[in-house]
Symmetry: D2
Subunit: 364 residues, 4 copies
């Protein structure tokens, strides 16, 4: 309840700070008998880790994951799977000078107000480094989803106004910005380099598509599938907005345009369009789930800003160090991880009732 | 866990269907000794109820609330407060003809897939009527917040592309569309009447501002204040997007534009701008909390649409009955209610630690 | 979280006070498509209601249950089932005189310390009347268990030192003390009448046996099946002790006596004895679950006692009114209800993983 | 929800197996600014660790705790505190021979039924070693309680029928059986040595007293303080019964004997006796909380027993290895830990409402 856990049946609990000994996650509710290796998790961590390319931070953390529990003979046992990533390549000195200052756009001030004490070393718990534990947990979720025929695919839809126009899943991992549109890669990279040159940073939009989701996931009323997804995604530090299907566009649509009409296609009930983004009344329709997250520009910029220190004195600040000018490409696996955790959690919960449901379900 | 409860310390559980005997809410965690009357709740329900004006549905439900428990001598006792609203003015016959059809844009199909059985009378649990229980619960939250100096103010920012330009709180309740800009009322009303005349419906945007929130609310990582708000708001059936502060706009902003710089103002630490919408690192800053919800057009339209029936046959459908052409004005108190519940819940949770925090906090 | 809900997937939330308008329960997580009528619930409530016989309180409450939601055409829909029981036959005047006094053995003092305000009318929320909502919720759990071949059988093992020696399930409901041993009925009744004549009260022991539980229910570590049962049963006001299988006796047993050895019997793996009470490592073995609850004597006695009033003055008190001299027979359906809720909750949770488990399970 | 977490506001999540890399606990909800060192935790772990004396197992695990997160400059930050204990001195070979056998009294069979797979190395997650993580978490709870003037004192009340008659707190840690009665130490030790000589094991009773608890802790109805304590304690593997105050004795008491009458003493409201064990209506009275746990004899005995193997064949089994003949003395810190976690959790939750309560409370 104090906020470091997420999920109901499939539930992750994370710990660790940016400049402490390491970052970890305990995953409770992992079904038994599933083949799981460090490599399954490492592969996702490598997509998030810093130092991947010239457009990300130069910090070079290997982020090697270690499995601490929950596995025997390469398979899950039903016991909690604990994963741990040691911190490396820290430069705590970078933060000494900022110890007494509230960095604009960061959580320094709010943590101090909340707790009266603050881990100033790289933002401590408020650091983006915390998301490594999410990605580790999400990798396990992804593995389970794949066993169930469900894929979670994320990509950079937009960086600083440059928007992908074609969505080609195969292209995503082939370019440093994770653009699904190969024709926009250069423009996106250029945009990032521009702001970086000016000591500044830039935002963007991540889009995620989930394929293979069966109808029936999500709970009505407060735990609607879209509500859980919104919670999961908005809990990622850099996210300032979440939308499902047509999202904010739907505010200026008519019902006759927005409603997805039903038809029989491929031998089953389908909708002709997917404006709803695969969710009706909070429950999956069986169409692709489609959502977007607005990512704000990183707060750490080397341009001089006004701020206040812990004593309440007004001060100037310049935040040097090794920071990402644009976090969007590295946010893609983080958002995917959160989406994966929500979907497997809903799938397990729905399974709980399946004995009672299965004989009554489905017209086709 | 099956989705009909929301909140942690201040927790609501709702029940009831559109065309059953009534709708109710049990509120657990209401602090003791607070003056609370049916009138406090009725006042909010009246803002949500149908039949308020010519631009809402003609259904005329009085929605009289009854307090079933938790009060003695006009004050809360710490026991759960149960509220109940009997259903009236139902026309179940309107739905008989649709019993076997999956209405496009509604949850008919997904409920059938989830449960294998469905309360077809007016949408049952998936009806917008369910939000009356949220408003009743939110009214109690609002009362508690007011005792703590916190106000939650919602209004219609946009209907079908017509956007309020000036925000005057006093105007909101003086016009049928809950526009804070008196100069846009006629245009908004006209837009609604147009789509209604065509048997169609239209969407819009609700904005909410919360004033008086102390710094320190919200939990880091998964239960960030914005994550809880996104969950709460996205759980309202008609919402397709949620954004905080500059939201999706921030995707095309630079860090130097987006970061809210700190200063001393009014004798305390303030930010010069409020692009973050009053939340940093998931924790309230003490600035106004500002958020927006995208409301899709109502699904019930009287234009002919394609659909499928429960036997899997393709069919045509026209949904007659008494429906709102635009739900935005009535959604305002619903979104306010959900925001209020999140804020009081966070406030109570933060209080749990205050003995340990208070002597260490705040530079000023 | 503030304590008026219990269960995880099958979850009840109760409300209402002894002398308010009524008592209710919202049951979330009821599987869909299950036939359920008011009669199913009434039958259990009738076993708990006051005025059943000469040895219980003379208060004559009919406790008629009303189903407020969650049912269509006699079947559950997956939506929350809300049940409501109006209060009748209240004599609030009986309590006026005690308004300022802390009754020994009651929660008057502790509620005042906790909340600073108290519903003095018949104990308010702390009244045994609260258990009617548990029995109503438990009746739904029982119905579901029966569909799964599981029976929950409770009886009076002991009253004031008089202990049943033979356990004949058929006899339980045939006598007013719910003794499974017809040879002990008269002696138990006599014991109750004796203490009643003296204005006093007496305690006893309830035993519950659950048959038909499949192996595998309960979660390791903190949510062991026995831990959940202990929580559920100890939450009943009058219970001061809970034991599983040989319970406190096991403190003076050797491992060679206590261990239940395995064998093949009836074509499956069984234990030769059942000292563990059907639970090993917190997980059901498939043997009968056997547990006992110690029930203290009712606190309301008409013998003069020393106490203190709300102003902190020492006073004498005599509690007149219509009270049970022994609550044990009426506690039987309450304990059964709590056990039923735990078992169905564990069964549903275990079902969540069954797709992953079923192909790997069981040697026979 | 899958059972490896406990607590609400102060919440522990444990992981790790007997013969895996280690055992850990993540503690969420630790208040900020509290001095906390590895020594604080080590001290409690040393009370639980094997190899303390001749009457415990000869396994010699040092159980060195490492703090992985949540601390800066020796103080808690409000972030989760993760603690880790590497496994040492394992002899996995001891278990190879038992890999296919279901050990009587152990969870081998039930884990296999639940998960279809089992970590056979020393019982895996079902091993008593899991309790090291509880003790580590409990040590943090104890530290917080001590800051609030609350002490949790556990001791061996009984071993194999030998019962302490005098309770002298100072004596507890001075003898290997943790007897509070120095006159019974030799007899208890003798009883253990006898059963050990026969390759057998023996049970006993742990009693815990909590002093300094303010009135008002615990939530009415389902989360009564005694219900939470029963849950916590019964979740310890070896516990088969829990009682509060007079417990099972109260079943044969009259109301006039059992009721604790109120008086003014030491300038505040007190009870003359404490048969209720410090809890009325599920809420603390301010008197000492007193409870007992029945500990069954350890399941691992070297006497030949009948069992069944994973193929469903009947077999004989003798469990050699390094096992405790009596777990009671080592169970004392485990039970204390669980009690401490419940009390701090209730204390924090009650604090959440204190702004609303404090001005209305208490006659004196």
């Amino acid at each position: 309840m104090p906020g470091n856990s997420f999920g109901r049946i499939f539930r992750i609990t994370t710990f660790g700070e940016s400049h402490g000994t390491g970052i970890g996650v305990v995953i409770d509710g992992v079904p038994p008998g599933v083949a799981l290796s460090a490599a399954d998790i490492q592969q996702e961590l490598d997509r998030r880790r810093p130092g991947q390319s010239t457009i990300t931070t130069e910090r070079n953390e290997r982020d090697r994951v270690e499995i601490l529990s929950g596995i025997i003979d390469g398979k899950t046992t039903g016991a909690p799977v604990a994963l741990y990533i040691k911190n490396e390549n820290m430069r705590t000195d970078d933060y000494e000078a900022l110890k007494e200052l509230y960095r604009p756009g960061h959580a320094d001030y709010t943590y101090d107000m909340k707790y009266g004490i603050r881990d100033w070393r790289g933002g401590g718990r408020a650091s983006g480094r915390e998301t490594a534990a999410r990605v580790a947990g999400g990798a396990v979720a992804k593995k389970l989803l794949r066993e169930s025929g469900i894929e979670v695919i994320g990509y950079t839809l937009e960086i600083g106004g440059v928007r992908a126009e074609r969505i080609k899943y195969d292209e995503i991992e082939r370019n440093p910005v994770r653009s699904p549109d190969p024709g926009k890669v250069n423009e996106m990279v250029k945009r990032i380099k521009e702001v970086k040159a000016g000591g500044d940073s830039i935002g963007g939009i991540v889009e995620v598509v989930v394929t293979g989701v069966p109808p029936g996931l999500g709970e009505p009323v407060f735990d609607k599938l879209d509500a859980l997804l919104a919670h999961a995604i908005m809990s990622v530090g850099a996210v300032k907005g979440v939308e499902i299907g047509r999202g904010f566009q739907s505010a200026n649509m008519k019902g006759s345009e927005f409603n997805d009409q039903f038809e029989i296609r491929d031998g089953r009930i389908r909708t002709r369009t997917n404006n709803a983004g695969g969710i009706l009344g909070g429950i999956s329709t069986g169409e692709d789930i489609v959502l977007r997250a607005a990512i704000r520009p990183p707060a750490s910029i080397s341009i001089r800003q006004k701020t206040v220190d812990r004593k309440g004195e007004e001060r100037d600040i310049e935040v040097y160090g090794r920071h990402d000018p644009c976090i969007v490409p590295r946010a893609v696996p983080v958002i995917e991880a959160m989406v994966s955790i929500v979907i497997i959690d809903c799938l397990l919960l729905q399974s709980a009732y399946q004995n009672w449901v299965k004989n009554r379900r489905s017209p086709l």
